[in-house]
Amino acid sequence: MRDFWTIFNQSFWTKAKTKSFVITTLIVVAGIFLMSNLSSIISKVQEIGVFDGGADSSTIYVVDHSGSLLEPLQQQLDASESDLTLKSSTKSIDELKAQISEEEIKSFLELSVNEAQTIQATYTSENASEFENPGAIRDALQNLQTNLKATSMDLSNEEVVQLFTTIEFDQKAVSDSSKSEEELSEARGLVYVLIFVIYFAVFYYSNMIAMEVATEKSSRVMEIIISSVSPVKHMFAKIAGVGTLGLLQIALFGVVGFVALKTSSSDLTSGVFSFFGFSNVSISTMMFAVIFFLLGYFLYATLAALLGSLVSRTEDVQQLLMPMTLIIVIASFIAFSGIGNPEAGYVQIASYIPFFTPLVMFLRVGMLDLPLWEPVLGVAILLVTIFILGWFGSRVYRGGVLMYGASQSLKDIKKAIQLGKK
């Protein structure tokens, strides 16, 4: 058991201390902070006016042909908490256009009212891709128009309100396992993110295992190690070491993400975040995420170690990992496509196929109110598969690590088992 911990420590620390690992971790942490504060960073940048070239974007020059719209429009804008300031301009349209080209002003608005009491407005700016300011003005003008028309039709305020009453729309499902639409949209974002994390982590760390094993083999240090410690112990200690590192890394990202969101000025319960369901993080979903990450990792890492033990050069690792990579990618396809329709038959079936279970069963657990036996059965099948693969893998591994040759194909598995036969 002491050897186990020696190898465990070694594979944990040597990986944790590598420059690439530290740098990757730091970049992701920085990325998380950046993303979660993106909106406040952008507005800060706008306040400072870095991209404005001196011109003030919150001041809009208005050429009011009707002579009566400017003031009510400013009132409307103020009422909707917009920080736009309107300034009347006496310059000609051509002069104003020239000013925009010379970046002296940002934009201007031309207002008039036609015979049918309909407001006509033209918003002019450097390019047409701007949407925030014109949107706000448009909404304000629409309200103004409504009031204008209402006045002309002699409608009271109450009558106007009644005209624009919003409907109540609710969606309900018949199936027991299905969650309500509200719950679903809450779960969707979280499940989506977690599936991605599991997919990526399982893929990344399994690859790391295969590379580690291949490196030890190609640097020939393997023979010294397995003359002191049994290859099976070596294999599982390595898998456990890298797995722990992975779990810690993901936990770090999780904590950083949580802190970043909490400390960022963005409101968690509104906007984009409410769509992703972070307002109501379900504990059971998180727990299943950890369980399925661990099981998925052990399954694929064992497979990766087995395959890694067959190659003599690290250059050949990717080639041999190809079938495994394909399986993970297919699993992720099923899982991602299942987000839209978690009750589809193929999703249900796939969730019991061990190589797909970590992603697909997690999707179902996250998106549906499954009876507990379903995920438990999935986990049980997965455990049995891991056990069988571990047993089979250690037999291949024992011979594989002694094998040096040019040809690298899955046929070598047979040769490896023969070589490692006890």
């Binding site: 050897d3 020696t6 020939r220 240090v221 190690i225 410690v229 112990k233 002694l402 023969q418 006890k422």
Partner: protein, 299 residues
């Protein structure tokens, strides 16, 4: 504490790598393993270490088969050299020492002592990939001796070392032998084996061609060398019956003979021709025996 190999055969599919091999290595002795490339040396070592299982026969150390339970008493230097290229020398030695059952502090102390002994203490915090091949090999030799093993298996320990380092390594090996360790090593350099080993075996195609003590092997070889130096051509002397071969050297020649009296006959004939500056009857070198035995098999 004897290493006993009993009628061991190892087959890989239809290929027989080692066939009916038997030998005994006494405690504290130095045993030489000779054989051409592909003769089955590495396979035999791997079987001794328990990495491979014999198809037939048994291998025991101290009466018990070698397993991971007693692997802490074994030191192994594989033929294919390799260490973690990106790991520091000291960390590496400590790690490998720990795997052989050492405590971390002991491993650290021992590795520093050995680095000192091999005159490379300044490499301790360098990465292995920064060292030259020969120095990497020193580190690896240290890794195989660090934990004071009682059975040491060295596959080609001297290959790739310069003469100065060969001497340092020889001395180190002799020192650990004096401390009681049993050493088995293979080499292509017959002079090293001749110098270090009391016992040896010559393997060819997985079979033992010769085994026993160096002296017995030389005596029973039945051939001796006569080395002569003279200012005239000696080649005509190979016509004397009893001379099995003749090799011209710069200053004279070497005759291989079956019986000692032939040597005197050669000398007498040569003296008739002129003055002889040097004459000696030599034991056959291991090199001669190896080439004679293995070369014949290949012919």
């Amino acid at each position: 504490m004897t290493l006993k190999i009993d009628n061991v055969t190892k087959k890989f599919g239809n290929f027989t790598a080692v066939k009916d091999l038997s030998m005994t290595v006494k405690q504290g002795s130095m045993f030489g393993f000779l054989g051409a490339n592909g003769a089955g040396k590495t396979t035999t070592f791997r079987m001794i270490l328990g990495l491979l299982d014999a198809t037939e026969g048994s291998i025991t150390w101290n009466g018990k088969p070698i397993t991971y339970a007693n692997s802490t008493h074994i030191g192994y230097l594989p033929e294919e050299r390799g260490l973690y290229p990106k790991m520091k020398v000291e960390d590496q030695l400590i790690y490998l020492g720990q795997l052989r059952g050492m405590k971390k502090n002991d491993a650290k102390k021992a590795s520093n002592e050995w680095l000192e002994r091999f005159e490379v203490p300044h490499y301790s915090s360098k990465k292995v990939e920064e060292l030259s091949k020969g120095n990497q090999q020193k580190i690896q030799v240290i890794a195989s001796l660090l934990h004071k093993p009682s059975l040491i298996i060295l596959d080609e320990p001297f290959s790739g070392l310069d003469p100065v380092n060969v001497e340092i390594l020889k001395k180190a090996i002799l020192d650990v032998q004096k401390e009681g360790a049993t050493i088995v090593f293979s080499s292509h350099r017959m002079d090293h084996v001749e110098e270090l080993c009391e016992q040896l075996i010559i393997l060819d195609h997985g079979q033992s061609l010769l085994t026993g003590s160096l002296r017995d092997i030389k005596r029973s070889f039945g051939l001796q060398n006569v080395r002569m130096k003279a200012d005239f051509d000696l080649s005509y002397l190979q016509e004397i019956s009893g001379v099995t071969s003749f090799k011209q050297t710069i200053e004279g020649g070497v005759f291989q003979i079956g019986e000692e009296k032939i040597a005197h006959e050669i000398l007498r004939s040569a003296l008739k021709q002129g003055d002889i500056r040097y004459f000696a009857i030599e034991e056959p070198s291991l090199q001669d025996i190896f080439i004679e035995k293995v070369g014949k098999e290949h012919a």
